[in-house]
Amino acid sequence: MDSSAKGKTASSEQFKGQALSWQVSRGIIEVTLHRTPCNELGSLSLDEFEQLASALDHLEATAHALIIHSEMQSGFCAGADLRELYTRSQAMEKSEAVRQVRTFLERIHAALNRIDASSLTTIAAVHGVTFGGGLELALACDLIIADKSARFAFPELRLGLIPGFGGIPRLKRDIGNAVIRDLLLTGRSFNATKAQQIGLVSQVVSEGEALRAARATAAQIGKFDRHTSATAKKFIKPIPHEELRGEIDVFCDLFARPAVQAGLKRFVESTDAQPYLP
């Protein structure tokens, strides 16, 4: 995948990229997603998430919390960049496309695993569309704080795929299997209130208030001993490595099927007013 976007970081304390930026203040790293239209995750985003993952090695020494939020009005993140996925896979042999998809998934898994395993307490402050890869990014965090506009879904089955960024193993870690099956097998979305009822979201706040609530939560977290917090997190939130690796295998097997290319083509070329509805 293209890595030409690398090298924009000024220092580990502050970064301004094309898909995301971060800054550190009072021990809180605030990561802002700002790629139009709705923070679709493609090769550019991956490069910058990898830079964030690398910077954590230094930032964890002084910070105590990390907040990820979006400044895009439509939502937190609409998921993988399907247009890029489709365009790139069309330009090469199928076996090469599958190989590159596997490499991409392994890289994004590594970045999300790094965030998941961080000694910092991590918070996703979400609003609006939090779909597919966006939900998977939020699930890598310790807490999800949602405003009332938030909407969650795993719509991948409509493309003939499963979520590929670690979503199912992480969701299984956090909530009941019945809800996972409903989300996965129907592709439906649900709102923040429902997400809180099933234990996915810890706090629901008024529209536009998620970041403020996340900052207040991060400030509270900063009152406690870091070693204790990190130890508690490690104990209660093990990373499901085996299932995550299995997910990549299943995704790549499915990706090789013709139905996926047809599904991607249908989505990318759709003029339907409701392409996000399953």
Binding site: C38, K148, T186, A273, Q274, Y276, L277, P278
Partner: protein, 80 residues
């Protein structure tokens, strides 16, 4: 439980206010995508607003093919 007409009226008022369209320009049998000038992501926003307002859960696959306010109101009414 509100009547179907009241539900429909509330939907029209809510949609008009949220998407800043004059209420009097919206009619029950109108295509709400065109009337409100909204895309698919904004449709999900509208769905969330309606769920929060009416305190219902409406799976979005039930809205597949729904384009007018009256049918939308019927879907919500069925869950009140």
């Amino acid at each position: 439980m509100p009547t179907a007409e009241k539900t429909l009226d509330e939907i029209l008022s809510l949609a008009a206010a949220h998407f800043k369209v004059p209420r009097e320009k919206l009619s029950p049998d109108e295509d709400f995508f065109k009337a409100l000038g909204i895309d698919s992501l904004q449709t999900l926003d509208l769905l969330t607003k309606l769920e929060n307002h009416f305190h219902v859960e409406l799976p979005d696959y039930e809205l597949q093919g729904v384009t007018d306010f009256r049918t939308l109101a019927g879907k919500i009414q069925a869950r009140l």
